[in-house]
Amino acid sequence: MRATLPVVVEELLSEIASTCRDLAKVPDELLLALKFLFGPSAVQALDLVDRHSVTRISSPSGRIVYQVLGSSGKVYTCFASCHYCSCPAFTFSVLRKSDSLLCKHLLATYLSLAMGVCQDLSVSNKQLAGILLAQEDPEG
């Protein structure tokens, strides 16, 4: 993901990435920091990470998109280059009210990448276009 995040979030994510490599777990103080920065969505995002809900989808063109299987069983699309998620919470709290930075799906994507627990899936260029385009149909 190349989107810009506040420095504090970037630092936290890289710390999580490096401790995960060494200890294979995230120490409590980093979890607390996450909770401090993101409030309740931190716990929900970690839950998604634990369930390996984030899939990194790539196509032969090299274009990448992420899909997150939400707790309700719905699949949401998160973009790789900027903050965009197709979930209603993103529209409401991030876009409309601007009171949070990310939704839990985007946070889960960042965390899964940092911890190296993304699932990988290769699809055709056409399928990837469909994933980027779709927003309302039931499969996400």
Binding site: G62, R63, Y84, L95
Partner: protein
């Protein structure tokens, strides 16, 4: 002000200097009808087409009816340049989204610049922040993908008409959402009618742009001209007398 330079060389471009200021890959160009948004976009297309990089994608709701005034000579006559500009006319919001999300399927060579003229026309079909964010994010994602698959970055330039009257709440929200994805914004001002009359009929080959960072910011006027060999020169025209000291800076670039 590096505005025009930035404008014509989004990220790394003709001027050799990359534009880190105002982070974000794209530029939103706002202005009232007749302020020369399309003309400036077309100028950017010609400049990028002459750079020897990938093709330029010019996306608009409908075909450009006529070449903007002042483009009769020089670079616009160069068939090689015109061939590198691919015009695409998705007729609806949905088709624009389809075009962007499928752009990686067809592009044989990564484009060097993606231009979208008249974003407001597409947004008029939608409501709510979600559709607006989806479109803006797709634009950013598309150029990010193209930048990733070539050594040089793909620029993004979007024009949008600024409203004549007070904006509705919904329109203001759409704009806030847009600026999340396209944080760099420039305003184009139409030329005051008295000035336009004072000048002899456009001799062709040059184009004037009055640019500012917002409706209340000082305006700067720039003159762009194309030589017969397609060379572009940008020079700052003296400001209105009431404003700061007119600076005489000149930026020339061999594109």
């Amino acid at each position: 002000m590096e505005a025009l330079r930035k404008l014509l060389s989004p990220r790394s471009g003709v001027c050799g200097e990359s534009c880190e200021v105002g982070a974000g890959p794209g530029l939103l160009l706002r202005g009232k009808p007749g302020s020369g948004k399309t003309a400036l976009l077309f100028a950017a297309a010609l400049v990028a087409a002459g750079e020897g990089r990938g093709p330029v994608l010019f996306v608009a709701r409908r075909a450009v009816q006529r070449l903007p005034p002042g483009w009769k000579g020089g670079a616009a006559r160069d068939p090689l340049r015109l061939q590198k500009i691919h015009f695409l006319y998705p007729p609806s919001f949905r088709e624009l989204l389809q075009l962007l999300s499928g752009m990686h399927e067809t592009a044989a060579q990564p484009p060097s610049l993606l231009l979208l003229d008249g974003l407001d026309e597409y947004l008029a079909e939608t409501s709510g922040p979600q559709a607006c964010a989806h479109l803006a994010a797709l634009l950013v994602d598309t150029v990010a993908h193209f930048s990733g698959c070539s050594s040089s970055n793909c620029g993004l330039l979007v024009t949008m008409r600024s409203p004549d009257e007070v904006e509705t709440e919904e329109a203001a929200l759409q704009l806030t959402v847009l600026q999340r994805y396209l944080p760099t914004c420039l305003w184009l001002e139409p030329e005051p009618p008295d000035l336009a009359e004072a000048r002899p009929q456009d001799p062709g080959g040059y184009f004037r742009a009055r640019v500012s960072s917002g409706p209340d910011f000082p305006k700067q006027e720039w003159c762009l001209s194309f030589g017969h060999n397609g060379e572009m020169a940008i020079s700052q025209v003296t400001c209105q007398p009431s404003q700061h000291q007119p600076q005489k800076t000149e930026i020339s670039s061999s594109s």
